[in-house]
Amino acid sequence: MKPLLTLDFVAETMKEWGTAEQVRHNRIRITATPETVRTAIINARELLECDRLITISAVDNGKTLELVYHLTGPHRSVISIAIELPRDKPEVPTMSDILPPAGIYERQIHDLLGIVFPGHPDLKRIMLNEDWPLEEYPLRKDWKKDPGTFYGGIPGERI
């Protein structure tokens, strides 16, 4: 195991693409923008040796939709790159071509929160059942079940 990354090193390396802060002893959070996130991840992979994507977390904070890419590598530090997307047009380029595991997480986020990832090879439904109505994203805070809509299962029964 290599030594943990220091905040100074990460902040200096990544300063063009976002601001870094130390949140816990082995966690560094970088706040980026939807425009810089792709270059930030490419550079985190090359300059910070982050060869592993732990997960992409998605949060609806009521005003915007947030994505947090959690990366790690042989140094075992967790670099979290966070971005915010506008609710009316939540779009961010896919990372599945540079980090293959991102593909399945992006499909899941698209399904549950309706974020679009242009460039994704196969942004199909993965989590929700096949008869779930299109354009309904259950993990958004403002989502409510519409009594008149069919959400799957046996018609007429409650879900």
């Binding site: 732990i54 977390s57 293959p100 399945i104 399904d111 549950l112 993990l139």
Partner: protein, 393 residues
């Protein structure tokens, strides 16, 4: 020959769980795997946002029937870190004991399933019989075979009595002997060698690039283990080793899991023998301050991550669960390519997929062969009865 699409599912080919595969095959050779999990979505993440920290734990435990302790531990660990709570050493040790017993029962279960997939049902019967010793220990300690309900924010809910500790210690030597036997079988049983060796190969670079986790990654020589890399519970004070293998096939994954069984026995024994005295919980505040954390945990199947965000109330703003199986699908899709159609069950089973099932309690009366459902009140009566029995002990 033109490519043919073979649909498999919605019950997946290895275990009775919902996933739909579309296998693109050229003759008997697999060209590509298309995956769809959309059979049943239970909405646990959404439901978790509406429950306070006491009520959310039983829900999160039910994310998975096998690694239930993993889900509750990773969550309370995150919340405790946000609250800046230090839990007592005795609670840390008991959480570790349950966690490792859970790993043992999960790996023994897996070994049986893998043997069953290749038609070696004797091994399946043996491992599931030996797994009962682990299940009995868990039942004695927590009151349940699965869904132990041991965790709460600030510590654990039940203490271990000296008689429970001794009963658990007494079961370990026999288990140890059985696991040694399985370690030998994997290396010299013809049936297992033919079906496991060279099947579902994943190189070290592929495992890294495609984000494999847990025993699947460690069998390809990637030594990521959260218990060592991002230590939690008692793993910093207990002596143990990360098990890796270099063969990268189903054979390697079996060897890693058997090695982990042996390590788990070591950890459980150490924790039971060196159990610190003292309280088992601290009083936790009702609400958590505003904060966010990525809580990581080495579940039996690999790295489990809960991304938790709190907003100053007694509920979470968001809990985003990334299960190890979701991380492993990408690598399964890769290692199926160019394999034989008949090897799908064992390759898929080799990541030990867990798609979180739900079930209801059905009671079978063996005398007149009738079945029925237990009402909530009856269940409550039973649990009161059990609690009062335990107090008397």
């Amino acid at each position: 020959m033109a490519n043919v699409i073979v649909p498999i599912g919605p019950h997946h080919p290895a275990l009775k769980e919902p996933v739909n595969f579309r296998i693109v095959a050229d003759g008997e050779r697999i060209v590509r795997l298309e995956l769809d999990l959309s059979y049943n979505h239970r909405g646990i993440e959404k439901a978790a946002e509406q429950r306070d920290f006491i009520r959310v734990l039983p829900l999160l435990e039910r994310v998975c029937g096998i690694c239930s302790h993993s889900h509750s531990t990773v969550f309370v660990k995150g919340i405790e870190e946000i609250m800046e709570l230090e839990i007592p050493p005795r609670a840390r040790f008991i959480r570790t004991i349950i966690a490792e017993l859970e790993r043992m029962h999960s790996h023994l279960l897996w070994l049986g399933v893998a043997a069953h997939e290749v038609g070696f049902n004797t091994l399946f019967m043996w491992t599931w019989r030996d797994r009962e010793a682990v299940q009995d220990t868990l039942e004695e300690m927590s009151g349940n075979r699965v869904h132990y309900g041991m965790n709460e924010v600030g510590g654990i809910r039940r203490d271990l009595t000296p008689s429970e500790v001794n009963a658990a210690l007494a079961r370990l030597p026999h288990l140890e002997e059985r696991i040694r036997e399985y370690a030998k079988m994997v290396n010299d049983q013809e049936t297992l060698l033919i079906r496991f060796k060279g099947v579902g190969k994943l190189s070290r670079d592929e495992a890294l690039a495609y984000g494999a986790v847990g025993p699947t990654a460690r069998a390809s020589g990637v030594d990521y283990d959260i218990r060592r890399d991002d230590p939690y519970l008692a793993y910093t004070v207990v002596p143990w080793n990360v098990v890796t293998d270099t063969s990268g096939d189903v054979y390697g994954r079996t060897r890693v899991r058997i090695g982990e069984l042996q390590e788990s026995i070591k950890i459980v024994r150490h924790c039971l023998e060196n159990l610190p005295e003292g309280p088992i919980r601290v009083n936790a505040p009702k609400t958590a301050p505003k904060g966010e954390i990525l809580s990581r945990y080495e579940a039996p199947r690999g790295e489990l991550a809960h991304f938790i965000r709190t907003n100053g109330t007694d509920k979470v703003e968001r809990v985003d669960i990334r299960t190890p199986t979701l991380a492993n699908w990408t690598s399964v899709a890769l290692c199926l390519v160019n394999q034989n159609l008949a090897d799908i069950p064992v390759i898929v089973a080799a990541i030990d997929p867990c798609l979180s099932c739900t079930s209801r309690i059905t009671v079978v009366n063996p005398k007149d062969r009738t079945t029925g459902i237990v009402t909530f009140d009856e269940l409550r009566k039973q649990s009161h009865l059990r609690a009062s029995m335990q107090e008397r002990r």
